[in-house]
């Protein structure tokens, strides 16, 4: 007995390794060369931003300890003292300035995450000013994805500038890393294994007890589940919904589930005078709010929640999740499921026998995406809408959808990395123009929303801003700008004895992880 205990204790003190698997590998070690949230989430263990999200998604100081507005478009950040990079260099204002300049380089993909930042300047050894093109209430949200590099390291390795894919250059930062984060890079084999070791000199008080992280991408769902069941990994995500019961039935492993930030919706073509795939010629029924509402009320979300999503999704009347600033619980009332009312609305709009319409869905992007669409097709059929379903891979789907080729299309929106209702407004509720409405190929347009967006983007008074955000959400709901369905579930498979907070942005923050 004593022997086993002694051995167990020895192993525990030797290494608390967390072995985790995800469906895809991180794209690069350079956080400025990608905007994909999985990659940025993982790199957060190595690199850190000025401001970060806590486990309950609240903004909190990271490398900056405080900030204030100097002018409406100039923010001053005071940096944390005594922070050192993994190579031993200490953090200074020069590092932050060089990093921000690298991030806003035209060749840096991350620049779209900091659209209003135009300059950064040093005002003291540990004091930096960030200059914006216009007043922007979302600067702190933006900065959570801009991780800070060591200027000296970048200069030594010729990585001061983001790479230009067109020139066929490979950057040192793509394959090497030097951050300030809780873990240091030990080794990396793309698509096979990336190992992190604990950073003993981390400035923050560790709330974890890990010494090592072994990250392995496993793209096949079945293999990932098998690896968890056989004890080869401790944490994996996503856990496929069809395997949840099986994992929970196995001793020693379980599935953590919660609704995510990602709202799944149907967008509708309200722009063209005629639909692409319909028997109604010469006019576009989806321009009529009664038709859109009929489509909405013909969908039985309770049933989809129970049968297709196995009780794990959260039905939503709004286009953003409750965790997203700007969400208003009072508005979150779905129009009731009512096929009779839907039929009446259709008849009222002049389509007593319904009509045919094209429905485009992904089959590899969202949780149970194709199944949801199949269910909706049969629900619509009951009120006379004959939807012609095309379910295809995301590459093709988004090409068709964003090119304006779809009648009704599925898409999801998590408001990340901005984590604010404004992301949804600018993305798919604004009338398409320049930088706005990029994800609004259906061409939904409302003058009041557009003018509100204009005001919200520069409004620094938070209560005022929230009120305006809520107003836009209400208009969008009442006009059925899109048909919101639900927030899809996150599910992480985990070995018993490991504790970590499950954040709705689907990004494990392993510096809160405890292994027993």
């Amino acid at each position: 007995m004593t022997v086993t205990l002694g051995l167990g204790a020895a192993m525990a003190s030797q290494a608390n390794t967390l072995r985790m698997a995800e469906a895809s590998d991180i794209a690069s070690l350079d956080p400025y060369s990608v905007t994909e949230s999985n990659t940025l989430g993982f790199l957060h263990h190595i690199y850190e931003p000025l401001v970060r999200y806590s486990a309950d998604l609240q903004l909190e100081p990271a490398l900056a300890t405080s900030w204030k507005l100097v002018e409406p478009n100039v923010w001053r950040f005071e940096l944390r003292e005594g922070v050192s990079f993994h190579n031993g260099n200490s953090l200074s204002a020069d590092d932050v300035v060089a990093s921000i300049k690298r991030a806003i380089d035209p060749n840096a993909p991350i620049r779209v995450n900091v659209p209003t930042v135009v300059d950064a300047r040093k005002v003291g050894e540990l004091s930096v000013e960030i200059v914006l093109s216009t007043a922007d209430p979302l600067l702190l949200n933006y900065l959570t994805t801009v991780y800070i590099f060591d200027k000296e390291w970048m200069t030594e390795n010729n990585a001061l500038q983001a790479i230009d894919l067109r020139k066929g250059e490979e950057s040192y930062a793509t394959t090497h890393a030097n951050g300030t984060g809780p873990f240091t890079l030990e080794s990396r084999q793309p698509d096979a294994k990336t190992v992190l070791a604990v950073n003993p000199k981390w400035w923050d008080t560790p709330q974890h007890n890990l010494t090592r992280i072994e990250f392995t991408p496993i793209s096949s769902d079945a293999t990932r589940v098998a690896a968890l069941l056989s004890g080869e990994i401790d944490l994996m995500y996503p856990a496929p919904l069809q395997d949840v019961n099986r994992i929970n039935a196995t001793a020693g492993v379980k599935v953590l589930q919660a609704p995510s930030l990602r709202t799944i919706m149907f967008g509708m073509n309200q722009r063209d005078d005629q639909l692409h795939d319909s028997d109604i010629k010469g006019k576009n029924p989806l321009k009529d709010v009664r038709v859109r509402k009929a489509l909405y009320q013909a969908i039985n979300m309770e049933l989809i929640q129970k049968k297709v999503m196995r009780g794990n999704s959260r039905n939503s009347a709004l286009v953003v999740a409750p965790e997203v600033p700007g969400y208003d619980a009072a508005l979150n009332q779905r129009f009731p499921f009512d096929p009779e009312a839907a039929k009446a609305l259709l008849a009222d709009a002049g389509y007593p026998n319904g009509f045919r319409v094209g429905l485009d869905c992904t089959n590899d992007r969202y949780v149970n995406d194709e199944e949801i669409c199949q269910a909706v097709v049969s629900m619509w059929a009951r009120v006379g809408i004959k939807a012609n379903l095309t379910a295809q891979s995301k590459g093709n789907h988004f090409q068709k959808m964003l090119g304006g080729g779809s009648d009704i299309y599925m898409f999801g929106w998590a408001t990340l990395p901005m984590l604010d209702t404004f992301s949804a407004l600018a993305g798919f509720l604004a009338t398409p123009a320049d930088k706005l409405g990029t994800w609004n190929p259906g061409g939904y347009s409302n003058a009041r929303i557009d003018s509100l967006i204009d005001q919200i983007s520069g409004e620094l008074d938070e209560p005022k801003r929230r009120a305006m955000l809520a107003e836009t959400l209400e208009i969008a709901r009442d006009e059925v700008a899109v048909i919101p369905l639900h927030q899809q579930p996150l599910s992480w498979g985990i070995r018993e004895g490991i504790t970590l907070p499950q954040t709705p942005d689907d990004t494990p923050r392993l510096w809160y992880t405890k292994v027993n």
Binding site: S24, S33, P190, S230, G231, N396, Q399, T438
Partner: protein, 328 residues
């Protein structure tokens, strides 16, 4: 001989160009790489800019000729997904695939040949019937099902072997090998079996059919009449003559195994070239897809060329035939 070689090389080059063109026209149906590469907050303008900088807005024939010219110089561009040179990525993944194929190949020979020989020598024994049934199952079961079953049995239930990856690898120069570590060897077993299973059944059936044929020939009867031992007749004479056509077929199968390793690599998260390709398809990583397709067709072309030349050397009549044909 030289003119034949030159003609054959010319043909091979044409085949490669055709494959490249075919691959290239296919990519238009795989989807839009830009959607995967840029944040959803990007503006239309930024999307167009990226498309321009990747050369995607140019007409297809321009993209194709740029690709061919660069490929001829060994430059396959930068992977959209990994942001690293494609040639480096393929070189990194090649050892994994080749080791896997080699192991599967050895397994298929070590298991397939004895099974075939046994069932040819004792066609009516119960064990031969078992082999026949097993081979039927092996041929008709989809490989990914075999893989999942292997994982379920040996990883999940018995906990003997790892369900994914290559285990620990040792680097010898640029070659990374899993053959020198315990975990590397363990990791090779299941995917090796999965990839080798179809070959086992193929070789077994081939050896069995060929050997039964040979056993019926006159020189075997003479050998027996001369009083040679069973062992000498069966293994010295019969097996030797059986193996010639078998070697030709399994040589050609090598190319197929490299190409079809894709499924095994996907199931076992094996970091090889096939897996790289599958990942590239789901990300619409055009440079990687085109380089891989070109590489696989190169492998096939080279193997076919070697086989042709072997025939040419073994059978002088091929030469004579062509000579008469040309004179007409």
């Amino acid at each position: 001989m030289l003119s034949f070689l030159i003609r054959r090389l010319g043909q091979s080059l044409l085949v490669m160009l055709a494959v490249a063109l075919l691959a290239f026209s296919m990519f238009r149906f795989v989807g839009d790489p830009v959607t995967n590469m840029i944040s959803q907050d990007a503006s239309v303008e930024e999307r167009e800019q990226l498309r321009d900088s990747l050369g995607l807005s140019e007409p297809l024939y321009v993209q194709f000729s740029t690709f061919v010219v660069q490929a001829a110089q060994g430059d396959f561009g930068i992977s959209y997904r990994n942001q690293r040179p494609v040639s480096d990525l393929i070189a990194e993944r090649m050892p994994a695939t080749l080791e896997l194929v080699a192991v599967a190949f050895v397994i298929s020979l070590l298991v397939g040949v004895p099974m075939g020989v046994y069932s040819a020598l004792k066609p009516h024994s119960w064990l031969s019937h078992v082999f026949q049934t097993l081979s039927l199952i092996g041929i008709s079961l989809p490989t990914f099902v075999t893989g999942i079953l292997l994982i379920l049995t040996f990883s999940v239930t018995l906990n003997w072997l790892p369900s994914f990856g290559r285990g620990e690898v040792v680097n010898i120069g640029w070659w990374s090998t899993g053959l020198l570590t315990i975990s590397g060897l363990k990791s090779l077993i299941l995917p090796g079996i999965m990839l080798g299973l179809f070959q086992v059944t193929l070789i077994m059936r081939l050896v069995r059919a060929e050997m039964m044929e040979v056993l019926r020939t006159d020189y075997i009867r003479f050998a027996r009449a001369r009083g040679l031992s069973n062992r000498a007749v069966n293994f010295g004479h019969a097996l030797k003559n059986t193996l010639m056509p078998v070697i030709t077929i399994i040589g050609l199968q090598l190319g197929a195994m490299i190409a079809f390793a894709i499924i095994t690599e996907t199931v076992f998260q094996w970091p090889g070239m096939g897996f790289l390709f599958i990942q590239a398809v789901s990300f619409v990583d055009i440079p990687v897809m085109s380089a891989y397709l070109l590489l696989v067709s190169l492998i096939f072309v080279v193997i076919n060329m070697i086989v042709d030349m072997l025939y040419f050397m073994l059978d002088p009549r091929l030469c004579a035939d062509r000579g008469t044909a040309n004179s007409h």
